[in-house]
């Protein structure tokens, strides 16, 4: 059974989806989803542990067809690190979804909702697992198409979800199509789609214009999918108007997977030696990352709708991942992986907590939060911790990724960039402070809706908060895993932990 884990990781949610669609009762559909995502989470942990223990790459050949001809699923240090993030968030979000979905989605649609939910998770897991460039596209579209549907399901409560989903669809499809064009060009050059095989054959043709064009298309397509500034405009409305559970799931995972795919393609296929990569793509990603960090943070400061606020902050946080990538070093990649992991935890916590408020009050704005610190102290404390982690306060996970990010920049003597990165992340204090002030320092206005909390409501968010704090206090294994993941792409010559 153990040797089948890589395929089961993807197959389980994929095959559970039709069952979920067929199940009429909403409790049954939720139960199936819960069990499936739980099993997927266990599988990814098992894969992670197995990969870390063996230290090698696990390869699974579909249909017993060997690598360049058949499609293979590859679990190396990088994918083993990202899989638990997706399945873990998927699991916790499913836990929370029971109440959120009951509050926000028409009960006749629950079966279809959970089917789309499972497909999204399966698609993301597939993108991470597969070792075939075109297969990535297929999984990308599986997860995206179901994500469009999930976002649109917010329309029962908030009709703005529809145009948001439509714009997401247009831009998402354009991004995916760019990616396919790039892959097509690579296939024309090399005659293979297997990622490892591509990496081997590409150096023979790396000086051709077609190779550069392919890289440009792939990078651009993935920038769109990962919402890198200035290609991020689809993200905020899509997150803000989607059902709360969907926001929590997607904010923590969807863009992260694209970040992972970008790293896999740029470093795993083209390679750090590829001409123009460091000076061209690296500098571009670095600049856009810094710009995104500032734009996102500043936009978050003036925002009053909490979902939009944290969606804007996601833009900024994606900027930090981009900075890590743009540093073009092992430490930078490790920082990107660390932040990918940590940001998923903290944004998950935040959106789950906010989702619970939004499900009760209709929407979650600064006004809704006024004086909420007394009414729902446990939920608000979760938001506080999530916010502190976003700032990067020590003993939270955010601190760990931040120190490695700064270190990556300082290793290359980017003093100014390090300072800018730091200032932008410290600016996060402004919007977190706004929330603290509203929740604790203001009285609850007259006639504001009553908010309540029960353990089942705040537990999912708190699981994430505890993980955030846990990985902030004892991060050594995670740091090791992140460096192992980075060394998959850039060999360990400089900057060992």
């Amino acid at each position: 059974m153990m040797q089948h884990l890589p395929i089961l990781q993807v197959l389980l949610p994929l095959l559970a989806a039709p069952f979920a669609a067929l199940l009429r009762g909403r409790e049954l559909a939720w139960g199936l989803t819960f069990l499936t995502t739980g099993a997927a989470f266990l599988i990814s942990i098992a894969l992670f542990l197995e990969q870390r223990a063996l230290g090698t790459t696990l390869v699974y050949e579909l249909g017993n067809w060997a690598a360049p001809i058949g499609i293979v699923y590859v679990i190396d240090a990088a994918s083993a690190l990202v899989l638990p993030v997706i399945s873990g968030i998927g699991f916790i979000a499913t836990l929370a979804a029971r109440q959120l979905v009951a509050a926000e989605i028409d009960r006749r649609d629950h079966g279809l909702f959970y089917a789309a939910w499972l497909l999204t998770i399966a698609g993301m897991l597939g993108q991470v697992t597969t070792g075939d460039a075109f297969n990535i596209f297929v999984f990308l579209e599986i997860s995206s198409l179901s994500a469009y549907a999930l976002v649109a399901m917010g329309s029962g409560r908030d009709r703005r979800a529809l145009p948001a989903a439509f714009n997401y669809l247009i831009l998402g499809t354009v991004g995916a199509t760019f990616y396919v064009i790039g892959i097509g060009l690579l296939y024309m050059l090399t005659g293979t789609l297997n990622l490892a095989d591509l990496a081997e054959r590409l150096p023979q043709v790396e000086e051709t214009r077609a190779a550069f064009t392919a890289m440009a298309f792939i990078a651009l397509g993935l920038f769109l999918k990962m919402a890198l500034f200035p290609l991020h405009f689809w993200l905020v409305p899509a997150y803000a108007h989607a059902p709360s559970a969907v926001t929590a799931l997607m904010a923590s995972t969807a863009t992260k997977v694209s970040v992972y795919v970008l790293i896999r393609l740029i470093f795993g296929v083209f390679g750090i030696e590829f001409p123009g990569l460091v000076d061209g793509v690296g500098l571009l990603v670095l600049t856009l990352g810094i710009a995104g960090a500032f734009v996102g943070t500043l936009a978050a400061i003036v925002e009053t709708d909490l979902k939009k606020l944290f969606a804007q902050s996601s833009i900024a946080q994606l900027g930090y991942m981009a900075i890590g990538i743009g540093a073009m070093s092992a430490t930078g990649l490790a920082a990107a992986f660390l932040h990918l992991f940590n940001h998923a935890l903290m944004k998950g916590a935040l959106f789950l907590a906010i989702g619970m408020i939004a499900a009760q009050a209709g929407r979650a704005t600064m006004g809704t939060l006024q004086g909420a610190g007394k009414q729902i102290p446990i939920t608000m404390t979760a938001i506080l911790f999530g916010g502190l982690a976003l700032i990067g306060v020590p003993l939270t996970a955010g601190f760990i990724s931040k120190v490695y990010l700064i270190r990556a920049l300082l290793e290359q003597d980017f003093w100014l960039l390090a300072g800018l990165t730091f200032v932008s992340s410290a600016l996060a204090l402004a919007y977190v402070w706004k929330i603290i002030e509203a929740a604790w320092l203001r009285p609850r206005p007259e006639g504001a809706p009553e908010l309540s909390e029960t353990p089942s409501q705040y537990m999912p968010a708190w699981i994430m908060v505890i993980a955030t704090l846990g990985f902030g206090i004892y991060a050594t294994p995670l740091v090791d895993a992140a460096f192992a993941a980075a060394h998959v792409f850039i060999p360990a010559t400089v900057g060992a932990p």
Binding site: G392, L395, K402, I406, L410, E411, Y474, V479, P497
Partner: protein, 478 residues
């Protein structure tokens, strides 16, 4: 008792006290009594630790390679722990008298956060690396916030916002960046005598990195980041006394001193001249704060600006980057701590006994409150640097350090500052003893005994420190 046990005791006792405060919240005498008792124990522990040789270390957890939470007492830290540990039981005793005398509410919450703040201060004092220091530094900020806003009215909340705003944002924007920068450059954050940055950083960047620390450590109240200190004076006087004369502000300058001695290294700063600018910044802070202090007629506000000015001395000691100056700065932590806590204790005693806050109303008060005013005079003279009081030594050593370094201007600054001290503190004493009374006071009306005892003890400490200076001197080597 081993040093490790003492470290655990010093960190654990305040936590225990805070837990017991919650446990005994319905028995006020038991609640307050145990806090004083545990305070005495921790004062004893701090004293024992001070006597033990350095070298002990306790590591709680390793966050990531090179990032640990650990405690390594060294002479400076032990001195600070001794200061905080000794003044804690006295301040607690005083607090009990004040809170009951002034009939403040929410006594339990107050005592709880008071103990937590002491825990954070101990953590800062004993911290073995910058990360640990930063964590406890933030903890101190957040645990004192409920104390500052204790009254809960609009003015208190507004002041609390300034307090938290300046301290948190400066530490997160500048200090944290400095910490991460040091870690990225040196690969470690441990406090090592002689510093860890020598040879790891381009000397060109040293002033900038030092600036991150000097302005990141908002608690050191270096102008223009001093605004939070006067704002925090809305707090009940015991808070101002212990926290804003000792724990919080001293934690700030202690951090500055520690960073310059153990992270940059005195020699490294001396060679690169990276701290030259800080000498001027500190000079400005010393003089400007003294001048502002003269314009204030609210007693606590005047004392607050006096504190800002005195903190400048310690920053100056760090900036001069000579062993003598650093020793003087370390001594000033103790000397100013004893002196300023006495002054605040007196201010609180005056408030409890007569409900007076404005200096203009205190004419002739000295004859009604002779003990309080006597203690006040003693402490004020110590702060002015008049022998045979503690402040004389530290000021003397700072001047010596300035001479070593060739900063004759600093001598002038210190002289002028002493004169200004004389003016704004002397005015209070003169009014108290010699001006014609503005009110009709019949006979002696002193504050409760629980307040008088601590303030007498701390006043005498100022005297004692002058003669035991050898015991407190820290040699930072040549």
């Amino acid at each position: 008792m081993s040093a490790e046990t003492l470290i655990y005791m010093l960190l654990g006792l305040p936590l225990l006290a805070s837990a017991l405060v919650l446990l005994f919240r319905h028995q006020p005498n038991l609640r307050d009594g145990q806090a004083v008792g545990l305070g005495v124990v921790s004062a004893w522990a701090a004293f024992q630790l001070y006597l033990l040789p350095t070298g002990a270390s306790v590591t709680l957890v390793a966050l990531a390679p090179g990032l640990t939470l650990s405690f390594t007492p060294e002479p400076l830290g032990k001195l600070f722990a001794l200061v905080a540990g000794t003044l804690w039981p006295l301040a607690t005793l005083y607090t009990i008298g004040y809170m009951r005398g002034a009939k403040e509410k929410n006594h339990t919450r107050f005592m709880f956060f008071y103990a937590i703040a002491i825990h954070a201060t101990m953590g800062i004092a004993l911290s073995g690396n910058l990360l640990t220091l930063f964590v406890f530094y933030e903890m101190l900020t957040f645990s004192t916030y409920p104390l500052v806003t204790h009254k809960g009215d609009e003015a208190a909340l507004k002041a609390g916002r300034v307090y938290l705003g300046i301290l948190v944002s400066s530490s997160i924007v500048f200090l944290l960046f400095g910490v991460i920068g040091v870690w990225a450059l040196a690969g470690t954050l441990d406090f090592v005598s002689g510093g860890i940055l020598a040879g790891k950083i381009d000397p060109f960047y040293v002033p900038a990195l030092l600036a991150l620390f000097a302005f990141g450590i908002g608690k050191a109240a270096l102008m223009p980041l001093h605004r939070w200190l006067p704002a925090a004076m809305v707090a009940p006087t015991p808070v101002s006394a212990l926290l804003h004369a000792v724990a919080v502000v001293k934690a700030g300058v202690f951090t500055v001193l520690k960073v310059s001695v153990y992270i940059f290294g005195i020699d490294f700063l001396q060679q690169t001249g990276g701290s030259d600018w800080l000498v001027w910044a500190a000079s400005f802070s010393i003089l400007a704060a003294s001048i502002v202090a003269m314009t204030k007629t609210n007693l606590k506000a005047r004392l607050a600006y006096s504190t800002v000015s005195q903190l400048g001395y310690i920053v100056m000691g760090a900036a001069l980057a000579t062993p003598l100056a650093a020793s003087g700065a370390a001594l000033h932590i103790a000397a100013h701590g004893a002196g300023k806590i006495t002054l605040f204790f007196c201010a609180g005693a005056i408030y409890v006994a007569h409900h007076l806050t404005d200096i203009k109303d205190m004419n002739g008060l000295g004859r009604t409150m002779p003990i309080t005013y006597g203690a006040f005079a003693l402490a004020a003279l110590s702060i002015m640097g008049v022998p045979p009081l503690a402040g004389a030594w530290s000021k003397f050593m700072l001047m010596g350090g300035a001479l070593d370094n060739g900063y004759l201007v600093v001598l002038g600054v210190l002289m002028v500052s002493s004169l200004l001290n004389l003016v704004y503190l002397g005015e209070i004493i003169l009014r108290g003893f010699f001006a014609s009374p503005s009110h009709k006071w019949d006979g002696v009306q002193e504050a409760p005994l629980a307040m008088l005892i601590p303030l007498s003890i701390t006043a005498l400490l100022s005297l004692l420190l002058f003669f035991t200076v050898d015991f407190l001197m820290i040699d930072f080597g040549g």
